[in-house]
């Protein structure tokens, strides 16, 4: 029995909540994987900070045009209905509330909805990119993440210990174990892997998981 989802399975689960016609921004790295799992018959329009709406998958190796990239500087392709625009217009889309959903990675998510995903502390070169804008712009800000760190520490916590990306901005977290909503300053467990008990999940979570009825089973395909 599954005791932990792969990254692909977490991304697949997040993709199921994206409705047809939604405008979506996927954070750099792991969140980009969500695009692969759009449900049949639904079309999301993907936005990238550097001024493209309606892009598609990566081109074949050797077919790249390096003037056509996403925010992660990876080569992309265009789908019919795409548009180019400049950076101020791009962040007008973000900040102005025009995106339906942003899906981001996280170091920590607090039960308050606070997100920490840009800095692990004062060492090295700080870099923030567009994350601080995205968390205040999209109608829905979701996080995909392993439920715990590589060291086994909870990533869902009462209060973030790392520098914040945004205050009170996350509304849903898709983890390797569960789907958790953030409502009124609480984590609410919506779905969990059937193999795990409530106690198992709670033990790996740094803040109290509330229930709103019985959590559904978190069911994902083999990927």
């Amino acid at each position: 029995m599954t005791t932990k989802l792969t990254n692909a399975q977490i991304a697949w689960r997040a993709a199921q909540d994206i409705t047809d016609g939604a405008y979506v921004n996927l954070g750099i790295g792991f969140p980009e994987m969500v695009a692969k799992f759009q449900p049949e018959g639904r079309e999301a329009i993907f936005h990238t900070e550097n001024g493209v709406l309606g892009f598609g998958q990566a081109p074949a190796a050797g077919e790249e045009d390096w003037d056509l990239i996403n925010a992660g500087k990876k080569a992309i392709t265009l789908k019919p209905g795409a548009a180019f625009f400049h950076h101020a217009d791009s962040f007008a889309m973000v900040r102005g509330g025009h995106l339906d959903v942003a899906i981001l990675g996280a170091y920590e998510v607090a039960e308050t909805g606070d997100l920490a995903n840009w800095s692990t502390g004062p060492k090295g070169v700080p870099a923030v990119g567009g994350a601080m804008d995205l968390v205040h712009g999209a109608k829905r800000v979701a996080v995909i993440t392993d439920h715990v760190t590589k060291d086994g520490k909870p990533k869902l916590v009462e209060r973030c210990s790392l520098p914040l990306t945004g205050v009170g901005c996350v509304t849903r977290v898709y983890t390797s174990l569960a789907v958790v909503d953030i409502e009124n300053g609480h984590f609410v467990l919506r779905e969990k892997l059937a193999a795990l008990s409530l106690e198992d999940i709670q033990a790996q979570t740094g803040a109290k998981l509330h229930l709103d009825g019985q959590p559904a089973d978190l069911i994902v395909p083999e990927l």
Partner: protein, 243 residues
């Protein structure tokens, strides 16, 4: 996803009483005449929508478009910079009779407030209107030794605009100076409804040529050979005309 809809009736069906509506156009260029007249048809048939707040650079000319919206009784407030163009008598009479409210905004401030509404900027500072009657009651702050007036964003429930070509995703191009306020109004309204001279499939507009990306657009209705307000006024048209 296909934002194209079939009829003007459908395009204006869900604007409620009391709504704030941005209407594209500067004088006659870019005025979405057919959308406005569809709204009048709905009002005359149902009594709704009424008490609208209309945002446009002007306050209507002659007896079509915004002037007709006012004349037929749909409008309780105008937000504009220049309510005194050629033949503004419909607005003038209502205004002097105290039957319609006016919020007068300098043209550049109007444009910037609308753009701010679309861009998620709740307030900004501008040198415009500092020391004038139009700055009264507004916060003032100094930056680098120069005084500026704080202005708030302007948003709307609906935008009704006119474009040249629109595709299934809502991407738009405009025709010459008919562009004016329409791209920023599309950004600032909760729902943007566009009449286009030509509706095309996704892929029908070069991505480099898109002026308004589809993310700012909710519905596209094709009106081939649209009426031009200036031409209507020169022909002394009334809407609705003699039935």
């Amino acid at each position: 996803m296909d934002k194209r809809i079939a009829t003007l009736t459908e395009a204006v069906a869900d604007i409620p009483d009391g709504a704030t509506v941005m209407i594209g156009g500067f004088g006659g260029s870019g005025a979405p005449i057919e959308l406005m007249h569809a709204l009048i048809d709905r009002f005359l048939a149902t009594g709704s929508p009424k008490n609208l707040t209309i945002i446009n650079n002007n306050a209507g000319n002659g007896h079509v478009g915004i002037a007709a919206l006012i004349e037929q009784g749909l409008v309780s407030k105008m937000v504009c910079s220049f309510p005194r163009s050629a033949d503004p008598r419909v607005f003038t009479e209502r205004y002097l009779a105290g039957e319609i409210e006016l919020e007068l905004v300098p043209q550049g401030t109007l444009a910037e407030r609308i753009r701010a509404g679309g861009a998620g900027i709740p307030a900004f500072y501008t040198p415009t209107s500092y020391g004038t009657d139009l700055a009264k009651g507004k916060p003032v702050a100094e930056f680098d030794g120069r005084p500026y007036v704080q202005e708030r964003w302007l948003k709307a429930d609906f935008a009704l605009i006119k474009a040249e070509t629109g595709d299934a995703h809502g991407n738009l191009t405009y025709r010459m100076a008919a562009r004016n306020f329409s791209p920023i109004m599309a950004m600032a309204a909760a729902k943007t409804v566009v009449q286009v001279s030509q509706a095309v499939d996704a892929g029908g507009i070069d991505p480099e040529a898109v002026i308004t990306p589809g993310i700012f657009v909710d519905a596209v209705v094709e009106v081939r050979d649209p009426q031009q307000e200036e031409a209507l006024n020169r022909a002394e048209a009334h809407y609705p005309g003699a039935q």
